[in-house]
């Protein structure tokens, strides 16, 4: 296990997440993709901390912190998703174009 392998994994995950955000039309799917991208970022944090830093705890703590914030963020995002569903009876982002009109 080297730093390079870890970074490649993170890159692949991030690419998958980006692809998902761009291609997914379902809102929940997009949220999951965003989650994947965040995880890729977390892997980056941890791997740099593990291989490079003198003290790995700082990087690990930071990623835990990110996970906690992400959880809060997800709670809010899901609340929005539910409201959207109630209002439009659909979660297809291509149909949610009220601001366009």
């Amino acid at each position: 296990m080297t730093l390079q392998n870890c970074l490649i994994l993170a890159f692949i995950l991030f690419a998958i997440g980006t692809w998902g955000v761009l291609r997914r039309r379902h809102m929940v799917g997009m949220l999951i993709s965003i989650e994947i991208m965040l995880n890729a970022a977390n892997i980056n944090f941890i791997s740099f901390a593990y291989f490079k830093a003198a003290d790995a705890t700082a990087g690990a703590l930071f990623s835990i912190f990110v996970i906690a914030v992400t959880a809060c963020e997800m709670a809010i995002a899901l609340a929005i998703v539910i409201t959207m569903y109630r209002r439009h009876h659909s979660l297809d982002v291509n149909q949610l174009r009220d601001l366009h009109e």
Partner: protein
């Protein structure tokens, strides 16, 4: 002079007050009291003017110029100041009296003539407005003030010709009159600008003091776009100024508006289009006479234009059937007389000029105002009774309207130039001046025109008053007191103004600075008066032979269909109206206006449309970015960040 003269602005203010009160208040409330107010205020102005005239001529100032009052109005520069003032000299005092007297009498007449018209309040208001403007024109101390009131007079004329605005013919006539005179006035303004630039003053006293072969006439002057000699600039300026009078006095070829202006109410034709406003052109030339005389060639132009108009209009007047048109052409002809009399003055020596023509012309303004005004009032009276302008509907009115009959006989004799009526004296002097100054052709034409004048006036007279009635309207014609009174009043000056005015005019009416004794290089031609009177009597006799002798074929006289081609051409006024319309339609509307419209539509409008299209296209281009697709937003975000990363010169 004295307090009385320095308060003479009341002569202007009284008609103006009448205009304001009638126009703003009375014309909606009570049209009868509007008329009475108009009569009273104009009467006061008349009394003031007459007393002023008497004082002026008795005070010993008489041939001199008096500035009754003057205020500076528009100071353009330190020296070039347009002021408003009141100039009293024999000419302006004479015109003050003429305008106020005629305005007063016409107001009385209008009480009768406009009795049935529901908007007569407006009529009286406008009539007073006209009097005010005309008086302002007459008393002008400088050419700028004159131009100012000149335009006001034009507006008043426009509004009064189109007074019956429900008649399309009246509307088009008023537009025609306004546009044509305005066209001429634009040259007048150009002339004022040019002359005041060269001379550096608007004042009549300065302009009239210019003498040929002095500093004012030598050297070059820069006009901004070209250099021109001073004398050339002044001659050009004087011709431009004369063009203003050319249009206002309806000289050929700008004459067509005057006969068409007869669409207005008859009192308007009487005061504006015969006695006062159309004389303004002649008045302008008389006022600036020394200036015109100093500019070489201008007087000759004036003479030719006037002379041609005189005979041209007289020929047309011989064939017309509409009595107001006959009188209109007769006015044109008489205005031509006044013009050429002014132009006929010739320089006879060093700084001296034979001014008999000036005297004669101003004298003719004076006498003509009364008898022509009265003839129009008579025409209005007849029209009011038989409800038609055409001679076809008249005949035999003499028995029904005796006062009118005798008064108009006096006026017809006066205009024909039969002694001892007023027109004889002035017309005789005009002929004499043409003869003395050696203009033989002009003299001949004028003498012939004099005969024509007698002929067409008595044609009108005989056909209207003598013979058998030709319509049912004649049977119940009667005389209206309010309308007959001014007619009879005007008969008095028509009869006596010539005999009593002759002395005053010969003594006082010589143009200001060039005051020379009536130096007549030729001996007084004693036979001229006899020739003039003889020609007039021959004209009357021919008219009698054609139209009033027992068994005269009146029916043939009024027939316009079965006539020779020449008669038809004259009857249709040499097709000048048609020619003008053709020019206006084909050249102005079809040529200039159409190409201007094309330019506006395609070049100006095209530019505007192009700007519009560019904005729209740019807008819809930006609009495509706001698609509403989340994917697109995120995609652009990512691409943007990447571009920023690599193109933004960030540290690696």
């Amino acid at each position: 002079m004295n307090d009385f003269a320095s308060h003479s602005y009341w002569i202007l203010l009284l008609p103006f007050l009448s205009f304001l009160i009638n126009g703003l208040y009375l014309c909606r409330k009570d049209r009868k009291s509007a008329g009475i107010l108009s009569i009273v205020l104009n009467g006061c102005a008349m009394v003031y003017a007459i007393v002023l005239a008497v004082q002026y001529f008795q005070s010993g100032m008489a041939p001199g110029k008096v500035l009754a009052w003057e205020y500076s109005f528009l100071p353009f520069t330190e020296t070039l100041i347009a002021s408003v003032g009141m100039l009293l000299d024999p000419l302006s005092v004479m015109m003050l009296v003429v305008v106020t007297v005629i305005s007063f009498l016409v107001n009385i007449y209008s009480m009768g003539y406009m009795r049935e018209d529901l908007s007569s309040g407006r009529f009286f208001s406008l009539l007073s407005f006209f009097s005010f403007s005309m008086l302002g024109l007459v008393i002008a101390t400088n050419v700028f003030q004159m131009y100012f009131f000149w335009e006001l007079v034009g507006v008043a004329s426009y509004m009064l010709i189109g007074f019956w605005y429900h008649k399309p013919s009246a509307v088009s006539a008023s537009k025609q009159a306004f546009i044509l005179t305005r066209f001429a006035d634009s040259f007048f303004l150009l002339g004022i600008v040019l002359v005041s630039y060269v001379v550096g003053s608007f004042d009549f006293s300065v302009l009239n003091a210019l003498e040929p072969a002095t500093a004012a006439f030598s050297g070059m002057i820069d006009l901004g776009f070209c250099d021109i000699s001073r004398s050339g600039a002044l001659v050009l300026g004087s011709i431009l100024i004369f063009t203003g009078g050319w249009g206002k006095s309806a000289m050929f070829p700008m004459h067509i508006w005057l006969p068409n202006a007869m669409e207005g109410p008859t009192p308007v034709s009487s005061i504006i289009h015969s006695a006062t406003m159309v004389v303004a052109g002649v008045y302008l030339v008389a006022r600036l006479f020394p200036f015109f005389a100093a500019c070489e060639g201008t007087l000759n132009l004036i003479m030719v234009v006037g002379c041609f108009t005189a005979i041209f209009a007289a020929v047309i007047a011989c064939t017309q059937k509409d009595i107001k048109r006959i009188l209109a052409y007769s006015t044109l002809s008489q205005l031509g007389y006044m013009m050429f009399a002014l132009g006929a003055c010739t320089v006879v020596g060093e700084n001296t000029i034979n001014t008999l023509g000036y005297t004669a012309s101003t004298f003719h303004i004076f006498t003509h105002a009364f008898f022509k005004c009265m003839l129009f009032l008579v025409a209005g009276s007849l029209i009011h009774q038989v409800h038609s302008n055409d001679l076809d509907a008249m005949g035999g009115l003499g028995k029904k309207m005796p006062w009118t009959y005798w008064s108009s006989l006096i006026a017809c004799l006066a205009i024909s130039g039969v002694p001892p009526f007023s027109g004889f004296f002035s017309k005789d002097e005009i002929l004499l001046s043409a003869f003395q100054n050696g203009h033989v052709i002009v003299f001949g034409v004028a003498l012939f025109t004099s005969g024509l004048t007698a002929f067409y006036m008595f044609r009108l007279f005989f056909l209207a008053f003598h013979g058998e009635p030709r319509s049912a309207g004649v049977a119940h014609a009667h005389e209206d007191k309010a309308m007959t009174f001014p007619i009879v009043m005007l008969a008095i000056p028509s009869l006596g103004a010539g005999y009593f005015g002759k002395e005053i005019f010969a003594r006082y009416f010589t143009p200001g600075m060039l005051q020379v004794p009536l130096a007549t290089p030729m001996e007084h031609a004693a036979w001229v008066p006899f020739a003039a009177a003889g020609v007039a009597i021959v004209g009357i006799a021919i008219a009698w032979l054609f139209y009033a002798r027992p068994y005269a074929n009146v029916k043939h006289a009024l027939d316009t269909e079965n006539r020779s081609a020449l008669y038809k051409v004259v009857y249709h006024k040499f097709y000048f109206d048609e020619g003008y319309y053709a020019i206006v339609r084909e050249f102005l509307f079809g040529g200039i206006a159409a190409s201007a419209k094309w330019f506006d539509d395609y070049i100006i409008g095209g530019l505007v449309k192009l700007v519009c299209v560019i904005c729209q296209k740019a807008g819809s281009l930006v609009r495509y970015l706001q698609s509403g697709y989340l994917t697109f937003y995120i995609g652009t975000l990512i691409v943007g960040v990447l571009l920023w990363r690599y193109l933004g010169n960030l540290p690696v």
